[in-house]
């Protein structure tokens, strides 16, 4: 379990990345959703002991991130969003270094690295200099590091950004096989829905909604999304797209008015909450 207790982060006098965030993350996979600059990465960096909070703290498996940093680092592994491989070293070498930094023996690090690379269809590239790999392959190496580390808690900051659809499915499949607690951030609602049991929506440093996927979607029970360019009826307007949440019995009427009808998904939680906050 992860308990976030009033975590704030201020980067300069006026720029608050997080504003007193409180949450208890109980489910095995939690996705943190938010737009660019919402505070997702700051939250993950604080929880994974890379960044000090300005105030507040958090507990991971009962260990305080400020007081028990060393022990916290033994139970977590974190794959930062912007990390890139050292171009001149191979994936295998960098995975071995990462695992040895975590306390693995050299032979164990090699064995686990090869196994994880194989899991992600990257085995044949294990000895290639990393700067010869595609962007997606490089990202998969980082995911392989998290797989190989086998930590009880794993933080994955946008693990599938830049991956092609096939690679994304491979990564999803690998994540699903893990038994660790996973906190992942993503822009892809489809990914959150596919992988997580629990969703935390962040906007402008605040949690705007938090719950299981099922409970969050239940607020839209019986609803459909109607979308139209320059539509006159709307609950939300994003650029020139009008979005209206309608009852199932209104579908025919809105189709006649030229609206596209879509099923409700996590996009709608993010869109409605996020946009409402801004307006």
């Amino acid at each position: 379990m992860i308990e976030i207790k009033g975590v704030s982060k201020r980067y300069d006098r006026h720029l608050y990345a997080l504003k007193g965030v409180n949450a208890t993350l109980k489910e095995r996979v939690t996705t943190v959703i938010g737009r660019n600059g919402a505070g997702k990465t700051t939250l993950v960096r604080i929880l994974s002991t890379q960044l000090f909070p300005t105030s507040g703290t958090a507990e991971i498996e009962g260990l305080d991130i400020l007081k028990d940093t060393k022990k916290v680092r033994e139970v977590i592994s974190s794959i930062p969003q912007e990390s890139q491989l050292i171009g001149i070293l191979s994936p295998l070498e960098q995975m071995q270094l990462y695992l040895m930094a975590r306390g693995f023996s050299s032979s164990q690090a090699k064995r686990e690295s090869e196994y994880a690379l194989d899991e992600l269809e990257m085995y044949e590239f294990r000895n290639a200099p990393s700067d010869t790999l595609s962007g997606g392959m490089k990202r998969k190496v980082f995911v392989a590091m998290a797989l190989a580390a086998k930590s009880p808690v794993i933080f994955l900051d946008e693990p599938t950004t830049g991956l092609d659809p096939l690679s994304r499915i491979e990564v999803w499949s690998a994540i699903k096989r893990l038994s660790s607690k996973i906190i992942l951030t993503t822009h892809y609602m489809e990914e959150a829905q596919e992988l997580s049991n629990e969703v935390l929506v962040i906007d402008q440093g605040n949690i705007i909604t938090h719950g299981t996927v099922k409970s969050l979607l239940s607020t839209f029970d019986g609803k459909m999304r109607a979308e139209k360019l320059e539509g006159t009826e709307f609950d939300i307007k994003i650029a020139n797209v009008s979005i209206k949440y309608i009852d199932a019995n209104e579908v025919d009427e809105f189709v006649r008015k030229g609206y596209d009808i879509k099923r409700i998904n996590l996009d709608d939680i993010f869109l409605s909450k996020g946009v409402m906050l801004e307006s």
């Binding site: 960096r45 990390s83 491989l85 070293l89 070498e93 071995q96 990462y98 040895m100 306390g103």
Partner: protein
């Protein structure tokens, strides 16, 4: 301390960089070899021994100061440092691993100069131990200086210019390629702001005891200065590395 990580990192990032990118190695050797050539020509060969003795110091100092670019690149650009922060690794492990990788990267240059030194009878077997000790201290001091520089920079672009300037200042101005006793004593102490100066003075004391002779009284103060500077820079390096921001 995680010696396994330090050793593997030093080997991978020291040796494999040479193997896969030999141009970096040639670039790091070009300045000391050019200076060796110049000193030999302009002194009609009289100071060739000093220019050879200064080679390993210049190589180690230049490679270590260029480490600022690596440290800044790893922290700001490719964010590899972030990856290691959330592990059992300490900032000291990480910094020591990077420092040792610069020493490994410097090894071919040191070997080249060892061969030249043996040929010109500059280096002897008995001088090997103190020379290695001085080079390790110099690596630690300068690489920690490079971590301080890297920690102060917000943009990676600035690091290239700063390290290029520092590399020249630190390797050419101190008595690396010429006898330290050509300088007034006061100037030696002023120049010892850079750890390269005490390292060069100590090197010359070990290799040319007869030539140094009456100037040997600066050896002990220079030894103390080098140790003190190394310790202070290690302490400050830890503060500036921005391990957990």
């Amino acid at each position: 301390m995680n010696p396994k990580f330090v050793l593997y990192f030093a080997w991978y990032y020291g040796f494999y960089v040479i193997k896969r990118g030999p141009s970096y190695l040639l670039a790091s050797l070009s300045l000391p070899l050019a200076l060796l050539f110049m000193v030999t020509i302009f002194t009609h060969g009289t100071l060739i021994a000093f220019a050879i003795a200064g080679g390993p110091i210049a190589i180690v100092a230049a490679n270590s100061i260029n480490g600022a670019a690596d440290a800044a690149f790893f922290r700001i650009q490719i964010r590899i440092q972030d990856l290691y922060v959330a592990t059992s690794l300490t900032s000291q492990d990480y910094m020591f691993a990077l420092s040792m990788s610069y020493l490994v990267f410097s090894l071919p240059g040191i070997v080249l100069y060892a061969i030249l030194g043996a040929y010109f009878k500059v280096f002897t077997l008995s001088s090997a131990l103190p020379i290695i000790g001085i080079l390790i201290l110099l690596t630690l001091a300068i690489s920690n200086l490079s971590f301080i520089i890297a920690g102060l920079l917000k943009h990676i672009r600035n690091v290239w210019g700063i390290t290029a300037i520092l590399s020249i200042i630190m390797t050419v101005l101190p008595p690396t390629f010429y006898p330290f006793y050509y300088l007034p004593r006061g100037v030696i102490y002023i120049l010892s702001v850079s750890p390269v100066t005490p390292a060069a003075v100590l090197f010359q004391g070990v290799l040319f005891p007869k030539a140094v002779g009456m100037y040997s009284s600066v050896q002990l103060p220079m030894f103390v200065i080098l140790i003190a500077e190394t310790l202070v820079l290690i302490f400050l390096g830890r503060r500036f590395i921005r391990w957990r921001e």
